[in-house]
């Protein structure tokens, strides 16, 4: 309790002496503090006043200045200042007794001094998520009757990451508190030590506090991936992936890719902020037909540099129908050449570019540049070969898929025999039919005249 300004004036009617406690330092002492008390003795009279003795009784405080013999004479209208020293050994409200003797007169001075042991405190009320950078508050409170000045809090972690590590809070009035934001990252439950430096009544003090902390597991990151995908071979597939950051801090260097028998694009996202949902389309092109499982591999880092990885399975059904096919292929065998006509159709979901139809007929290789074909579109091609006796034509469709990879699909189509061979066959057939016709006609005509002759 601050007793400054509290004036104890006990005046003897016949002596005219007055006494006053002018200051107590520290005003709010802690147990163990040395307390200095300044008292003023006032002589309001017109004659000098001699002070014979001052006796001091601690009444719970240890008195380091037990008595003062012959402290001196106070001139008329003068003042005599004396310093008394106590030592606070325990908590409590104490009333030291000071008796001032002057001649036959004695006056008593009994100020009250409160010795308080309660230090400032710190509370961390927010729950801390493990393996996340938590942006939370701690509260510094002053439970004392007096202010705390120039309060500085230093946070001393053991294994955690804390920011900032030192905070200047300033003055903290009596019975007040202040909430201070800070960030902390714990890999596992641990303690935090708060070193609080402050001034109380100009006395520098320091205490270390270890508040109780509550921990919970990290909410982590939610990654949604489709369970099943059906697609044609060499077609461009897309896995729509949603990454939801449920953490209270950002994640960095997010990497998504596919593991399995497909060609694919990788996705890199530099940062996803807390509570942010990010969608990404992971493109892939399957080159193997059948039903099999892919894994979507993901990895990301947190602020501490810790890397998190995982795999999510996706069932893939790759049908045999490739993205690019032939339609309406017609082979025309002529006298000197064989022409292959048809359309290249794109039955897939994305454009293909650089489409070239290459053909091999006999020893001859030919190619036809078709170019880009959009989904559900087609382009015609025509290959002209010199006539040959080969019975089939090998057609290769080369194209660049949506991932920029060059693919080749092969078709073997039968080639009709060249016209010359057909003509020979025709000629033989005609001759046979002609001979047969001649025989039938000759028989019919001959028989008709024979019958006629028989009848006549």
């Amino acid at each position: 309790m601050n007793l400054l300004g509290l004036l104890f004036i006990l005046m003897a009617m016949n002596t005219g002496i007055a006494a006053e406690v002018t200051s107590v330092h520290p005003a709010h002492p802690f147990p163990g503090d040395t307390i200095g008390m300044e008292i003023s003795l006032i002589n309001p009279g017109s004659d000098p006043l001699k002070i014979d003795e001052i006796n001091i009784y601690g009444n719970g405080l240890k008195v380091l200045t037990s008595s003062i013999k012959d402290p001196g004479t106070i001139p008329p209208d003068g003042t005599l200042n004396l310093n008394l020293i106590f030592h606070a050994e325990k908590e409590g409200l104490f009333s030291p007794l000071i008796i001032i003797r002057s001649g036959e007169t004695a006056i008593r001075l009994q100020p009250q001094i409160s010795v308080e042991s309660t230090p400032p405190g710190i509370i961390v009320s927010d729950t801390i998520r493990l393996r996340e950078m938590n942006n939370i508050n701690f509260t510094v409170f002053n439970p004392r009757a007096g202010p705390l000045n120039n309060v500085i809090v230093e946070i001393i972690p053991r294994n955690a990451i804390v920011s900032p590590q030192s905070l200047y809070i300033g003055d903290l009035e009596a019975y007040s508190s202040v909430s201070i934001p800070f960030s902390c990252y714990f890999k596992q439950p641990d303690s935090l030590t708060f070193k609080v430096k402050f001034y109380s009544d100009s006395t520098e003090r320091e205490i270390s506090l270890t508040p109780e902390l509550r921990f919970m597991e990290s909410r982590g990151v939610k990654i949604d991936v489709p369970e099943k995908v059906k697609i044609g071979r060499y077609d461009s597939g897309t896995l729509n992936i949603t990454v939801t950051n449920l953490r209270s801090d950002s994640i960095y260097n997010i990497s998504l890719r596919i593991e399995g028998d497909v060609d694919h694009e990788d996705i890199y996202i530099p940062e996803i902020k807390p509570s942010e949902i990010r969608s990404a389309a992971l493109k892939f092109v399957p080159y193997k037909q059948g039903k099999y499982t892919l894994n979507v591999f993901y990895s990301y880092e947190d602020l501490s540099g810790a890397i998190y990885e995982g795999r999510i399975p996706v069932k893939l059904n790759v049908t045999e129908n490739p993205v690019i096919g032939l339609s309406g292929v017609e082979v025309k065998a002529e006298k000197t050449e064989v022409r292959v006509l048809g359309d290249v159709i794109n039955t897939g979901h994305s454009s293909v570019s650089g489409v070239i139809v290459e053909g091999r007929y006999g020893e001859e290789n030919k190619s036809y540049f078709v170019g880009k074909i959009d989904p559900s579109d087609f382009n015609s091609f025509e290959l002209i070969f010199p006539r040959d006796n080969s019975t089939d034509i090998l057609l290769k469709i080369k194209f660049t898929d949506s991932l920029g990879k060059v693919r080749t699909i092969t078709h073997l189509i039968p080639a009709p025999l060249p016209p010359e061979i057909n003509e020979n066959e025709f000629r033989t057939t005609y001759m046979m039919v002609g001979i047969l016709s001649a025989i039938i006609v000759a028989l019919a005509v001959g028989l008709s005249w024979r019958k006629r002759k028989e009848r006549s």
């Binding site: 065998a333 002529e334 019919a444 005509v445 028989l447």
Partner: protein, 203 residues
């Protein structure tokens, strides 16, 4: 009726006064075969015609098929008319209608002729490069110069001879003239046709 193809004399002797209906039917079958072959041929060629002609293709196809169907009837009437006229020089009796009824049976072998020649013609047509089909007349020359077509023509002549043979007996019975005279009556127009066909094969 089958008897007419190997014993026309016996058939016509038994028939005496045949109905015109049978001949109309026989020539009609001939017309259907000819119409179908014409339809198939035009349909195949139409794929190679210029774009500006594409709009007329259905019309051309139908018109071609109808024309081909009617052609045997026209031939039948013209041939009978010629037989009727030439028969005048050999004291033929009876009227034109009776001649029509007897001559119609002669078209039976022509059904087979049209089937065979039509089948081969379409096959040969399909073996030709028709992608630059602008000048049809040049293709006709090319078409007729193909050996297969020439053989087809010779086979056709055989069937025409068979038809002529039946018609000789028919005309003899219809006009009540001698067989020798009937050979002349039929031989003049049919021979002309055969000579024309032969000229196409030889030249």
């Amino acid at each position: 009726m089958f008897k007419v193809i190997y014993d026309p004399d016996g058939f016509f002797t038994e028939l005496k006064d045949p109905p015109l209906r049978d001949s109309i039917l026989i020539v009609g079958i001939n017309g259907i075969v000819a119409g179908f072959i014409a339809y198939e041929g035009i349909r195949y060629i139409s794929d190679f015609l210029p774009h500006e002609a594409q709009a007329f293709i259905p019309l051309i196809t139908v018109a071609g098929a109808i024309f081909a169907f009617l052609t045997p009837y026209v031939k039948w009437i013209i041939l009978t008319a010629l037989f009727y006229l030439i028969g005048m020089f050999f004291n033929r009796k009876e009227g034109f209608r009776r001649h029509l009824a007897f001559t119609g049976y002669g078209f039976i072998p022509l059904i087979a002729k049209d089937l065979i020649s039509g089948f081969f013609s379409i096959n040969i047509l399909k073996s030709l490069d028709l992608t630059s089909l602008n000048d049809i007349s040049s293709y006709r020359e090319t078409f007729s110069s193909i050996p297969g077509i020439k053989i087809s023509e010779l086979i056709s002549i055989l069937f025409i001879l068979w038809s002529a043979n039946i018609m000789v007996f028919g005309v003899a019975k219809a006009g009540e003239i001698r067989y020798r005279d009937a050979i002349i009556v039929v031989g003049i127009p049919v021979g002309t046709i055969i000579l024309y066909s032969l000229s196409k094969v030889i030249l």
